[in-house]
C-alpha cells in the first residue's frame, strides 16, 4: 500500500487541487478540512509506531534521484506542529476564504512544510522547500504585488543559495542523502583532527555554512533578511497567516537544526568554540538576539494590527534561533519547546486577528476600539494568548521562555542573556499596545454592531487556546517528547514539573497558588459594598465633556516617546536598502539592453568581428 509518509505529505496537495477544481462553496471547505485532518490523524497514529521502532522509512527513485523520507522523533515533533496549527488555520480559513484558488495554494504550502520535515535527502528537501515557498507566495500575490514580489525574491534567493550549497556538497561528497553526508563529514572532521588534509577546505565550509545560513535565515526571518515578513504576513488571508507564520517559519528553524545534524561536528572542528557555544552557533544566536530586539521594538511602533503581529512573530522566532545557536542539548530542546509554544500562541493570535478583520473590516488601530464587550469569546482567547506570549507563568509561553533563559544563561552567555531579557519585556509592551487599541477604550460608533466569531474560527481558536493552557500547566508532556530526540533524560521531572538541576518549574503548583491568590483577592473584593455599573464614557477627563465624537484616546501613535528615543536607530532600514538594490539592478538592465541591442546591424556585425578576433588570438 502507499507508504503512510506519502499520505501525510501529499494529501493536503491532492485535496487542495480537488477543492480548487470543484469550487462549490460548501464542499471545497469540507474537502480541504479533511485534507488537513488526515495527515494529522496519521501522525498521531504514527506516534505509537515510533515508540516501537526508531523511525519510519520510505524511498522512491524519480528522474535519476533517490528520494528518501524518514519520520523520527525530531521530524515527528515538527510535523505535529505543522499538523495541529495547520489544521487550526485551515479551519479558520473555512470562514475567511473567498475564492477557491486560495485553498489550492494554502494546502500546497502545507504539503511543502510536511515534505521538508519528513525529507531525508537534500534534493527532496529543496523541492519541498520550493513548493512551500511557491504556495505561500501565491497566497500573497493576489493581495499586493510589491509585497509578494519582495517575499518571493528573498525566499528564492534563499532557495538558490541553498541549491548552491547542496551543489558544493554534492560535488565534494558525491551523495545527496543525509546519512551519507553526515558520515562523510564526520569522518572528514576526524581526519582533520588527526591532522591529515580534509575533503572540504576551510573556505568551502565557510561558503556552505554562509549559504545555508542565508537560506534558512530568510525563511525564519532572521535580522538582516526579515524585511519580507511584515508585508507578506499582513498582505494575505489572515487565517492563512496563522499557518504562514506559525508553521512555515518553523521550516527555517528546522533548517538550522539540519545544519547542526549535517555539518555540526565538521563546523565545530573547523571553527572551534566561544565559551560553551560553537563559533558558528554563536553567529546564529547573536543574529537571533538582534532579531528579538529589532522585531520587538518595531512591533511596538506599528499602526497596523497585522504588521504588529508580523514583527512580533519575527522577534519570537529570534528566541528560537538564540536557543539553537547556543548549541547545548538543553538549549536546543528549549528552542524546540519554544518553537512549539510559538506556533501555538502565534497561530492563535493570527486567528484572532482574522476574526477582528473579518468582523470589523478594519486593520488600522486608529479606527478600532472597545471591542471587548462586543466580542467576548474572542477577547477570552486573546487574554489566553496574551498571557502565553508575554510569558506569564501558568501558560506554555512562560514554560518555554523559562527553559530558554535558563539554558542560555547557564552557558555563561551574558550578552545573549541580556538580549533575551530585553525581548521578554518587549513582548509584554506591544501586547498591551494591541489590547488597549483594539479591545478597550471608547468604541467608534460604526463598530457597534460587530458580531462575535463564526463557528469554525471559534473551534480553531478553542483548540489552540486549550493546548496553550494544557502544555503550560503540564510542561512534562512536551519535555518527554523532547528528551526522545537526544535519547537521554535532559529535562527531568514529572508530568507537571520541569527540573533541570539548577532550576525547577512546576506548572501545576503555580496555577494552584495563583488561583488561591485570586480567591483571596476575590474574598476581599466581595466583602466590600455592591458595585454600580458605569458606561465607558463616564470617566474623569479633567472637566472635558465626553461625547462620542470627541472621545479622547491615544490609539494612534501609542508609543511616540519610544519612537523619539529610538529615532537614531530607526533611520537604518534594511528594507530601503533592498529596494535600492532592486532599482539599481533594473536600471543596470535597462542601460545594458539599450547599449547592446541598439538595433544597428553594423554594430551587431562588429560583435561578430570581435568574437572572430578573440578566436584568432586565443587559438594561436
Amino acid at each position: 500500500m502507499i507508504n503512510e509518509l506519502m499520505i501525510i505529505i501529499f494529501t493536503p496537495l491532492i485535496t487542495g487541487v480537488i477543492a480548487w477544481l470543484l469550487d462549490i462553496k460548501g464542499l471545497r471547505e469540507g474537502i480541504s478540512i479533511l485534507g488537513a485532518a488526515v495527515p494529522l490523524a496519521y501522525l498521531i497514529q504514527a506516534h505509537q509506531t515510533l515508540t516501537s521502532q526508531p523511525s519510519i522509512q520510505y524511498s522512491i527513485v524519480i528522474s535519476g534521484f533517490k528520494f528518501e523520507f524518514l519520520l523520527y522523533h525530531l521530524s515527528w515533533i515538527f510535523a505535529m506542529i505543522a499538523g495541529v496549527v495547520g489544521f487550526a488555520a485551515v479551519l479558520g480559513m473555512a470562514s475567511t476564504t473567498k475564492d477557491s484558488y486560495e485553498w489550492l495554494f494554502a494546502l500546497m504550502s502545507l504539503t511543502g512544510v510536511y515534505g521538508i520535515f519528513l525529507a531525508d535527502d537534500l534534493i527532496s528537501f529543496f523541492i519541498f522547500w520550493e513548493i512551500m515557498t511557491f504556495g505561500s507566495f501565491m497566497m500573497v500575490l493576489k493581495y499586493n504585488r510589491k509585497a509578494s514580489l519582495k517575499y518571493f525574491l528573498l525566499s528564492v534567493l534563499g532557495a538558490y543559495s541553498m541549491l548552491l550549497a547542496i551543489g558544493i556538497l554534492y560535488a565534494k561528497v558525491g551523495a545527496l542523502d543525509f546519512t551519507t553526508i553526515q558520515q562523510t563529514l564526520y569522518q572528514d572532521a576526524m581526519r582533520g583532527v588527526l591532522g591529515t588534509n580534509t575533503l572540504l577546505s576551510r573556505n568551502d565550509m565557510l561558503l556552505i555554512f554562509g549559504l545555508f545560513l542565508i537560506a534558512f535565515g530568510v525563511k525564519a526571518g532572521m535580522f538582516p533578511l526579515h524585511v519580507w515578513a511584515p508585508d507578506a504576513y499582513s498582505e494575505t488571508n489572515q487565517s492563512y497567516t496563522a499557518m504562514f507564520s506559525g508553521v512555515l517559519s518553523k521550516a527555517g528553524v528546522y533548517g538550522m537544526l539540519v545544519i547542526y545534524i549535517l555539518l555540526g561536528t565538521r563546523l565545530m572542528y573547523q571553527f572551534g568554540r566561544i565559551g560553551a557555544a560553537p563559533k558558528f552557533g554563536y553567529v546564529i544566536a547573536f543574529l537571533g538576539g538582534i532579531t528579538i530586539i529589532v522585531g520587538g521594538l518595531l512591533a511596538a511602533l506599528q499602526e497596523d494590527i497585522r504588521k504588529l503581529f508580523a514583527y512580533s512573530s519575527i522577534s519570537q522566532v529570534g528566541y528560537i534561533l538564540v536557543g539553537i545557536g547556543v548549541g547545548s542539548a538543553l538549549s536546543i530542546e528549549a528552542a524546540i519547546y519554544h518553537a512549539i509554544s510559538h506556533a501555538l500562541f502565534k497561530g492563535l493570535f493570527f486567528l484572532i486577528v482574522a476574526t477582528i478583520v473579518l468582523r470589523t473590516g478594519k486593520t488600522e488601530f486608529k479606527d478600532m476600539g472597545g471591542l471587548a464587550e462586543k466580542m467576548p469569546i474572542t477577547f477570552a482567547m486573546t487574554f489566553v494568548a496574551i498571557l502565553s506570549l508575554a510569558g506569564i507563568p501558568p501558560l506554555v509561553g512562560f514554560a518555554s521562555k523559562w527553559l530558554l533563559f535558563e539554558a542560555v544563561i547557564h552557558e555563561n552567555m551574558p550578552i545573549l542573556g541580556g538580549m533575551i531579557f530585553f525581548g521578554s519585556a518587549i513582548g509584554f509592551v506591544y501586547l498591551i499596545r494591541f489590547t488597549y487599541a483594539v479591545w478597550f477604550g471608547q468604541r467608534p460608533t460604526d463598530l457597534d454592531d460587530t458580531k462575535d466569531t463564526p463557528i469554525p474560527l471559534a473551534i480553531a481558536m478553542g483548540i489552540l487556546a486549550l493546548l496553550n493552557v494544557v502544555f503550560g500547566i503540564a510542561p512534562g508532556l512536551v519535555a518527554t517528547e523532547l528528551n526522545k530526540i537526544f535519547g537521554k533524560e535532559i529535562i527531568k521531572g514529572t508530568i507537571w514539573e520541569l527540573n533541570i538541576g539548577f532550576g525547577r518549574y512546576n506548572g501545576l503548583l503555580i496555577t494552584i497558588w495563583l488561583v488561591t491568590g485570586i480567591v483571596i483577592a476575590g474574598i476581599i473584593y466581595f466583602l466590600g459594598a455592591k458595585v454600580r455599573r458605569v458606561p465607558v464614557t463616564d470617566t474623569y477627563q479633567g472637566g472635558n465633556p465626553v461625547t462620542m465624537e470627541y472621545n479622547l484616546t491615544i490609539r494612534r501613535n501609542f508609543f511616540l516617546p519610544l519612537k523619539e528615543t529610538l529615532a537614531f536607530w530607526l533611520r537604518i532600514s534594511f528594507d530601503r536598502l533592498y529596494q535600492d538594490i532592486g532599482r539599481w539592478v533594473e536600471d543596470l538592465a535597462e542601460t545594458l539592453r539599450n547599449y547592446i541591442y541598439n538595433g544597428n546591424v553594423q554594430a551587431y556585425a562588429w560583435y561578430l568581428a570581435i568574437i572572430l578576433l578573440i578566436l584568432a588570438l586565443w587559438g594561436v
Partner: protein
C-alpha cells in the same frame, strides 16, 4: 523496411514542390494540405521513434546506396529520433495555428516555406555528413529569412535584413571551418572525422573548430552572435516564432554539440569548452537582464528563450555525460514550454491586436484559457517543482556543480532570479490588475484551446512523473556523448582514406 525513414526528408521536399499545383486546384486547400503533410510527417516520426527506441539500434540511410564515407548517410540515432518527433509535432501544431494566424495573402508561399523549414531542421538533426549539415543549415536559414520577412511590414523586412547579414557571415565562416577540416582530414563523413580527429595538427584543428563553433554560434544564439534573434522573433509571424524557438535553435545547438563531441580527440578541446561556457553564461545573464524592463511581451519571451538556450549551451559545454543528458532534457522541456508560450502570445495578439503589457492587463478575465496557459508556462519556466523545467534545471545545476563550475551556476541562478521577477509581474498583470478599457470575455477558439491544454497537460505530466522522459533523454545523450559507439554504428568502407 528501415529505408522508409528517408521519407522523413523526402516527404516535405516533394510536398513543398507540389504546393503551387495544390494552389492551382484551390486557394482554400493550401493550408489544410500543409496540416495534412505535417500530420503524415508526425506519424512517420512516431513510427521511427519507437522503431529506434525498441530495437535500440540507430537507423542508417545511405543516400544513393553508396556506403559512407563515399556516399552521404543519414544517421537517425536515439537523439535524432526524439528530436525529429519534436520537430514534427511542433510544426503540426503550428500548422494548425497558422490556419487562422496567417492573414497576409500569398499563403502558398507560407506553406512552402514552413515545409522547407521543417525539412531543413529535420535534415540538420539526422545528417551524418558535415557538408550535408551545412546544406540543411542553409535551407533552414534561407526559409527562416523568408519567413521573418513574410509580413512584408517595415519591421519584418528590417528584422529579416539583420538576420540575413549576420546569418550570411556565420554560414560563410562555417564553410571555412568545413574547408579546413576537409583540407586536413580529406573526409566529410562525421564518423570518419571522429576517427581521424586525433591526427590533425593542433593549430589547424583549433582554427577549424573555432570557425565551426562560430558559424553554429550564430545559428544557436550564443551571446554576442544572437543580436538578430530578438528582432527576428518579434517581427516574424506568430507560428513561425514558436517554430523558431521550439526547434530551429535546437537544431543549431544539436549541431554544435555533435561537432563538439565528435572532435573531442582534438588537442585544444579544453579551450573551446571554456569559451563556450563563458559565452553560454553571458547569454543567460544578458538575456535575462534585457527582458527585465521589456514592454513588448513577445520580445520578452524571445529574450527568455535566448537565455534558456544559453543555459543549454552551458550544459553541453560541461563535457560530462550528466551535463549532456541534462541539457537534452532541458531542450525537450524548453521546446514544449516555449511552443506553448509563443502560441498563446500569438493567439492573444490575434484576438486583441497587440502584445504590449497594456493588452495583457486583466487578460485573466478576457481570455482565461490563454492566460492560464501562459501562467502555467511562466511558472514552469521559473523552475517551480511539480513542473517539467524544474527537473532539467536541477539536473543541469548539479551536473555543472559536479564539473566544478560553481561560479557559473551562481551567475545563472542570479539570472533566473531576475527571470522570476518579470514572469511574476506578467502573471500579476494578467490576473490581478484591471484592464484600462472595459473588454468583454472573448470566446476562445476551441482547437487552439485543446492544443494549449494538451501542452499544459504535457508540462504537468513530465513535471509530476519525469522518469519516462528521463530514460529517453539518457539514451539520447549516450548517442551524442560516446562517439566510439557512434563510429561503430556507421558502416564505413574499409580502406578508404585520404
Amino acid at each position: 523496411m528501415s529505408q522508409y525513414a528517408s521519407l522523413l526528408i523526402a516527404l516535405p521536399l516533394i510536398s513543398a514542390f507540389f504546393v503551387p499545383i495544390i494552389k492551382a486546384i484551390g486557394k482554400k486547400v493550401v493550408m489544410p494540405f500543409l496540416v495534412l503533410i505535417t500530420a503524415i510527417q508526425m506519424g512517420m516520426a512516431t513510427w521511427v521513434f519507437n522503431e529506434v527506441y525498441t530495437t535500440g539500434k540507430p537507423i542508417i540511410i545511405m543516400a544513393g546506396g553508396f556506403r559512407p564515407p563515399v556516399g552521404i548517410n543519414l544517421y537517425i540515432g536515439h537523439f535524432a529520433a526524439l528530436f525529429v518527433l519534436i520537430i514534427a509535432v511542433a510544426s503540426f501544431f503550428m500548422a494548425i495555428f497558422s490556419m487562422k494566424a496567417i492573414t497576409v495573402e500569398p499563403k502558398d508561399k507560407y506553406a512552402m516555406l514552413s515545409l522547407l523549414l521543417m525539412l531543413g531542421a529535420t535534415g540538420m538533426i539526422s545528417t551524418g555528413d558535415i557538408f550535408n549539415l551545412f546544406v540543411f543549415m542553409e535551407i533552414t536559414a534561407i526559409s527562416a529569412y523568408a519567413l521573418t520577412a513574410y509580413n512584408k511590414s517595415g519591421e519584418a523586412s528590417e528584422a529579416a535584413m539583420k538576420y540575413i547579414v549576420l546569418g550570411g557571415i556565420g554560414s560563410s565562416f562555417f564553410l571555412v571551418g568545413i574547408a579546413l577540416i576537409y583540407g586536413s582530414l580529406g573526409t566529410l563523413n562525421m564518423a570518419q572525422i571522429a576517427q581521424l580527429a586525433g591526427q590533425m595538427n593542433p593549430t589547424v584543428a583549433q582554427a577549424a573548430l573555432a570557425m565551426l563553433v562560430f558559424g553554429l554560434g550564430v545559428e544557436a544564439e550564443l551571446f554576442p552572435l544572437n543580436a538578430w534573434a530578438p528582432d527576428a522573433y518579434q517581427a516574424a509571424p506568430h507560428p513561425v516564432t514558436a517554430m523558431f524557438s521550439a526547434f530551429v535553435v535546437k537544431a543549431g545547438l544539436y549541431a554544435l554539440a555533435r561537432i563538439l563531441y565528435l572532435t573531442h580527440a582534438v588537442g585544444s578541446w579544453g579551450h573551446i569548452l571554456r569559451l563556450l561556457i563563458i559565452l553560454g553564461t553571458l547569454t543567460v545573464v544578458i538575456g535575462e537582464f534585457s527582458a527585465l524592463r521589456q514592454t513588448n511581451v513577445k520580445r520578452m519571451f524571445a529574450y527568455s528563450s535566448i537565455s534558456q538556450v544559453g543555459f543549454i549551451a552551458v550544459g553541453f559545454a560541461l563535457g560530462t555525460q550528466a551535463g549532456v543528458s541534462a541539457s537534452i532534457f532541458h531542450m525537450v522541456n524548453h521546446a514544449i514550454v516555449k511552443a506553448l508560450m509563443f502560441m498563446a502570445v500569438g493567439y492573444v495578439a490575434l484576438e486583441l491586436g497587440g502584445v504590449t503589457l497594456e493588452d495583457f492587463k486583466g487578460l485573466g478575465k478576457v481570455m482565461p484559457l490563454t492566460a492560464f496557459a501562459i501562467t502555467v508556462g511562466a511558472i514552469s519556466i521559473i523552475g517551480i517543482p511539480l513542473f517539467n523545467v524544474f527537473w532539467s534545471k536541477i539536473q543541469l545545476i548539479l551536473a555543472a556543480m559536479k564539473a566544478g563550475k560553481s561560479g557559473v551556476i551562481a551567475l545563472i541562478l542570479g539570472a533566473s532570479l531576475v527571470e522570476a521577477v518579470y514572469y511574476i509581474r506578467l502573471i500579476h498583470l494578467m490576473w490581478f490588475e484591471e484592464g484600462s478599457r472595459e473588454r468583454t470575455r472573448i470566446k476562445e477558439n476551441f482547437v487552439f484551446g485543446t492544443i494549449m491544454l494538451l501542452l499544459v497537460a504535457l508540462i504537468i505530466i513530465i513535471g509530476v512523473a519525469p522518469n519516462m522522459t528521463w530514460n529517453i533523454v539518457q539514451k539520447a545523450s549516450a548517442d551524442i556523448y560516446n562517439v566510439a559507439q557512434y563510429i561503430k554504428n556507421v558502416p564505413l568502407l574499409p580502406g578508404v582514406s585520404p
